[in-house]
Symmetry: D2
Subunit: 333 residues, 4 copies
């Protein structure tokens, strides 16, 4: 079973190697008649793009999305939407020295073990570059659920932790996704320092979802929390998912949590209860360190660029379950 599709009613299929011709996505299951704004899509892609700040990889990518199908006269047709982004950074350089290099913590070795072949010019499908296809998918998913607000922010990078969590979705997340200007400054200095030293850092992303209707999620395997966990753990470098208090629940007694519904993370029995959904994600530091990491194209930390990707994946999960539940709404008493 190939693993390049995600979703049931709203399904994205992504394709493309990091150093191939193009990356792309097919979004199948979109309703018709939704207004498409290409500038909004570009804005989302720009949030994920490298080179937004000097802590980011210096590689300049012109991530220009080209819509090949499914949109006509500015509206969705209900047919599959295909969007591609050309890889403009392919160099004529000699990649052959990379042919037999398996970078630890990357998919180089395991890809070869799996397929017996790999595109050794880069990370192939395992590259973070694949996530731009998810951002495109997330933009279209958002058109289905315009009233639902998804907001992700960084709450920790390396030793730097956010003290006050934002109370609503209007709080500015600054240059790198941290809703605190002074912490942002400290983290940027820290990351610049990492870059100089060939060091890298991990961290934690928080996600809040407002206005999600109740009843989304299926009671057994396709619980909303289960599908969100899969969505997030499918991201490169993501190593942890926690709903509500997450691992903090290990230290809480039943009497402490039973009457405070905010602890439930917006779900009961894995089905949305209409309250705020919140969960956290852990990301590990990039495995590339030392001299290699000092080269321009390596990020010392994935979190600043991962924030819009996390939001995209959340929108894809919620939209999918929204469409799934739609089928049964006419039968509700």
């Amino acid at each position: 079973m190939p693993g390049n599709s995600f979703g049931q009613m709203l399904k994205i299929t992504t394709f493309g190697e990091s150093h191939g011709e193009a990356l792309g996505v097919v979004i199948d299951g979109m309703p018709g008649n939704l207004l498409v704004n290409i500038e909004d899509l570009k804005k989302e892609l720009k949030r994920r793009a490298p080179g937004q700040h000097k802590v980011h990889t210096a590689r300049k990518e012109d991530d220009l999305p080209e819509i090949l199908s499914g949109v006509f006269e500015g509206k969705t047709l209900g047919t599959p939407i295909s969007v591609i982004v050309r890889n403009t950074n392919q160099k004529s350089e000699d990649y052959s020295k990379l042919k037999d290099q398996y970078r630890p913590g990357h998919a180089d070795r395991t890809t070869t073990q799996k397929y017996g072949i790999r595109d050794y010019r880069g990370g192939g499908r395992a590259s973070g570059r694949e996530t731009l296809a998810r951002v495109i998918g997330g933009y279209f998913a958002g058109l289905i659920i315009p009233n639902i607000s998804v907001y992700a922010y960084i709450e920790q990078i390396g030793p730097y932790k956010l003290k006050n969590h934002p109370q609503d979705h209007k709080v500015d997340r600054g240059e790198i996704g941290i809703p605190d200007p002074s912490l942002t400054k400290e983290v940027i200095t820290f990351l610049e320092d990492c870059k100089t030293k060939g060091e890298s850092a991990g961290g934690i992303v928080s996600v809040s979802i407002l206005n999600c209707p109740s009843g989304l999620g299926e009671p057994v395997f396709d619980k909303l929390k289960a599908d969100l966990a899969k969505a997030m753990l499918s991201l490169p470098a993501c190593t942890g998912f926690g709903l509500g208090e997450g691992f903090g629940f290990a230290n809480l007694l039943g009497s402490e949590i039973s009457s405070q519904s905010h602890f439930f993370g917006g779900m009961e029995g894995g089905i949305s209860n209409g309250e705020q959904i919140h969960f956290k994600l852990a990301f590990k530091a990039p495995s590339t360190v030392g001299e290699n990491a000092k080269e321009g194209r390596h990020d010392p930390c994935v979190l600043p660029r991962v924030v819009p990707v996390v939001e995209a994946m959340a929108k894809l999960v919620i939209s999918d379950h929204f469409l799934r539940q739609n089928s049964y709404v006419p039968f509700l008493p």
Copy 2:
């Protein structure tokens, strides 16, 4: 899209309400000719059964599995295996008072919001009782991958934490799943105390998988970590998943992790690398507390009974990916 099936090549579909006629599972995609030992299956079910220890719910269930199909003369046929377990604890008591009671933290309210109806006699599909169907599925999944060893254990319940993690899969996990006799005693006393007080506790389960071949998992959405996360978060009360160091990665620099492959949790790029797979799971305390919780049928903590369920889900994920990868093995150079 209904959500009662899990897996691609090896797929289980579970059915049954906690207070209905029976619970059951259909396991589709089993190879033929595998030897089935009903006693081994019963042993697995017994590990999950209530009443194993006095900290467990006193409700005595005779979880007798009946194989209805797919097994002939002690061997799998390759056809769907269906196993049911009758619910023998249905009482003739008056459940009508429960009709309009929505227990916080349970699926009572959200189920009604979703379907407009629910079986108010118990937790319905959201009941922990559903997990016995998963244990049955896990038993059969294990027949496909007999060389792979899956071992889960409790590393924390409430304030009690395991100090020394077991070094192999032979370490006895005692009565309640803790590989440390003295900690076991303390925890039992703690849980008995919880029961007396109408209190409840959460905790953390660790999972180790040995001898998993490399190459399992798909590079993008169906990463092994993603499918494991979904499997585990689909369990009632599970609130967190962490691969390798999990959320601990937030505090580790790249230089600390890049050269120590054990940190990767047995995967690179989401594909198994042939090393030990390890991950952790958080479970919250049961929401039922106070006077209600003092009644016999409520567990003060789900962890002791969840250990075999976690192992079953892990086997289902690994077996499924094993069969998926099988298709491509003949094409490897």
Copy 3:
């Protein structure tokens, strides 16, 4: 990929060998709150049951459906409905002589080639007996689309052909599914004669669907005609599917068909257009002939018993597409 499930939003999974403990079905994706009438279900099963007429196999089966889940207080819960039917005809006789017999035209040999093992006591999963699980599924599917009428009838058995096709769905189809009393008589005599001689016959079934809303079916692979064709060709002995004029279209010029929409079979571009859907199915004569066929349990012709199965499969397809389209209805202008 296991092949024992059918449908997307409404999905049935069937299980059970013809000579095993039980046959059964899990119906996943049912809306909640639909009234279930067990007597109606039994009526449908009785239409398919053997022994309705002396041309049928003499084997008396008590096909008593037992609902194990998904129905509470006479209503669907929205959870998976599981129904089993015990096999009561298992005999203590010696089946070992059948162990190495591969009956031509049956799945005996191919099942062994596929799985390396088979339940040699009968046809296993390939037995016509499996279709009773489909009839159960069809009954529940029908609850979703109560306004849609599905009506199948026999238009040919061996050399006997129906002259006047019924004009509506009220026409009585008599004992064996033929809407013509005198033809019914002739065919019964013919089939009795076949039985006596150890001969068997095939034929053609016509299906008419009224009140199907427009817009069902997906434009490319999941066209309504494609899913209906798959549903029908998945029936044992079914060898042909023809939409509208079917193979008769080969002899019609564009000018003859373009202005007569009834030729289109109720679909344009594979999507229902709101008109009557009609298609035809070919079934071959049972491969068991000669002395073996004279034994009681062999039908000389599958068509009389296949009529309710065909209707069930059609209802499953239509209901599934109805639920699929439901998701998008709120987005229609």
Copy 4:
């Protein structure tokens, strides 16, 4: 559930409107290390292309496939292969007059009923042009099963019927897919005449598959015949599928067929038995007739161009089932 994907282990997802930017396909589930020959792919596309003969639409399309992903250094990577073909025939002409025209027998009206919107410049997804994406998919599917030979040919167009069926797959099918030079001439004359008159014709295609291994197909819903039927009925204008004798079985007694295995069409119980697979397909005459049909871009008959598409769909089905069965082969005794 979107309907633009086909297959389980080998899955194609097609996209693109006939008058949009491009058509394309994502082929997911390809094994790695298979040699790709772009010239062979172009040859297949050319067989389907218009303008091969003057009975074909005069519209000249330059169907140049561009591989965007999944192929590296001439070999498959095991990752999704994406191929697009630009639509070069988009004209700057005024399509607005077509906006409210619903051509009978086309998907114009039903698409609008389904989505509330359509790309009125052409047939959108329902256009025969979509089938070029299938041909691309079929080319890659063929790489998986190089020893299996799929051969389709026309056996009837309008009143012209093939008398002698080809005995092997080497027989030349001439300009339009008919393995008989003199019949080819007659049919060309007939079709030219149709074109002049604004008339159109349907017909029958036969398909033969050699060297298919036994054991492909699943015993219940995913029978090989069922998946082939779905594949073929998903083609525009396809109205009938017949396995082996197809509807001819209605006139054959059991004694006539039971001993002649060629009648079974290469399957028993829906599973391939290692013998020649053969089936027939009916296609209806294009609905466009009269003055409109005299315009260059309309084919008077779809059959000549449909032959390679039918072969592609057959290869996709067989390859998919081949990969599915691969998973279980290591468990065979």
